[in-house]
């Protein structure tokens, strides 16, 4: 299954259930549908299962249930950044290479691009997000806002049709937050954003899922 640049996809999840080993079930049969190009907010108190659900949706955690992307079922427990991309809550965890451009090129290289083509794709993505000047910087030495943008570029460089974001506006100053939200609003793909930032949800998302204790309590149109 391949997706062209800017392609939007619909994602249907049914019966997503997950429990950490030796503990009670944490996510209890979550069902939801993400329309093509839709922006979905995921809100709820700490520990309600938002981040765990995102990890299950990417396939990083092996949950039971089905994930169907554009009519094709994704295998459980097999993450694939080319289909569903995840920007982690802590952007530092995503910046493990010596320079930002290498971090952004890491995904495209794993997709089989040559080092030269991957570098070109990475530089293009950095330019798109307005951080081309940070290409040769060490990701760990950037500000929080710059790290968040670099992490976003690293995911977008794989051009996933569905983008998941875990607390994208946490610990950002007003200017960085506004810039990030502008970028998210302009992105063409489908998007799920887990956050406590209700104002950001209102600005970016058209629908909101409210989670509590591993379940979806309600769905609201914003």
């Amino acid at each position: 299954m391949t997706h062209e640049h800017g392609h939007q996809a619909e994602l249907t999840c049914t019966g997503i259930t997950f429990g950490y080993p030796g503990q009670e079930t944490f996510l209890n049969g979550i069902d939801f549908h993400l329309d093509s190009g839709e922006r979905l907010g995921l809100v709820g108190p700490n520990g309600s299962g938002k981040s765990t659900l995102l990890l299950c949706l990417t396939g990083l955690l092996k949950a039971s249930g089905r994930r169907v992307l554009d009519g094709e079922e994704l295998p459980p427990g097999k993450p694939d950044g080319a289909h569903i991309g995840l920007v982690f809550q802590n952007a530092e965890d995503m910046l493990f290479m010596p320079t930002v451009v290498e971090d952004v090129a890491f995904g495209p290289q794993n997709l089989g691009l040559s080092p030269e083509a991957a570098r070109a794709a990475a530089e293009n993505q950095l330019d798109r997000l307005g951080i081309a000047h940070l290409a040769d910087a060490n990701g760990l030495k950037l500000s929080g806002g710059q790290q968040r943008l670099a992490a976003l570029a690293a995911v977008l460089s794989m051009e996933p049709p569905v983008l998941l974001l875990d607390e994208p506006t946490a610990n950002l100053d007003e200017a960085s937050r506004a810039r990030l939200l502008d970028l998210l609003t302009e992105l063409p793909g489908s998007l799920v954003m887990a956050t406590h930032d209700r104002a950001a949800v209102k600005e970016v998302c058209s629908r909101v899922l409210v989670m509590e204790e591993g379940k979806i309590l309600e769905t609201r149109e914003d």
Partner: protein, 245 residues
Amino acid sequence: MISQHQPYLLIAASTVMGAVSIATLPAASPGWVAAGTAAGGVLAWRIAGTRNVLRILKGAAFLGPFILFLAVMEFFRGDNQEVVSLAGIDLPVPLIRAVSLLLKTFTAVGLGLAWGDRVGAHGIARSLHRVRAPAAAVATTFLATNFLSTLAREWDGVRMAAQARGLSRARYAFRVRQLCGSLMSVLVRSLWRGDRIGWAMRARGYTGRLPEPLIKRGAVPLADFLLPILAVAVVAIAVCSRTMQ
């Protein structure tokens, strides 16, 4: 020039020190060797600073096979004396020599790092490329070297948290105990951090084979060859002179 060719400088420095020990130290007693090299280690630590210990280890990790080679040579150097008394404790000579050699190498690496800035992942990757190391080894070393910077930051965080709560005013014994505790804390944090980095890698398509680092290989300057050639020559001369005796 030094910062560009730092890995070679470190290899050369530790090689020369190892060679000097092989060629000249039979005349000295192991006790003096151990004391001298321990002092050198302390000097390197003081020059490089505690927060650079991980950097020194990074250099030592890069020199690992080389250190092993020299340690083996020290072990089999041959000596009639089997045990030496140091501060009233009988210690086997090969053990003392191995420890002294490691300390000497540590000193050389520490001084090298204090002299230049640090051994960067790119510098090491370039060096490995130049000696035609397999791409998988280059990529793994590249990532591992960079992870040490992450560990150094974790260590800084733990250290500053302890100092902010008055550790620098505590008694020395308590500080040493806290240091050991901090090392354990950094180990645990590094495992947790490594786990999350692993997730981030898998989420971006990593399936067990690291991509080739994006570094410009470029032409190989003559200076890159001179230092290791010089180092190898010194070892060869030292070993030959010992053999002829």
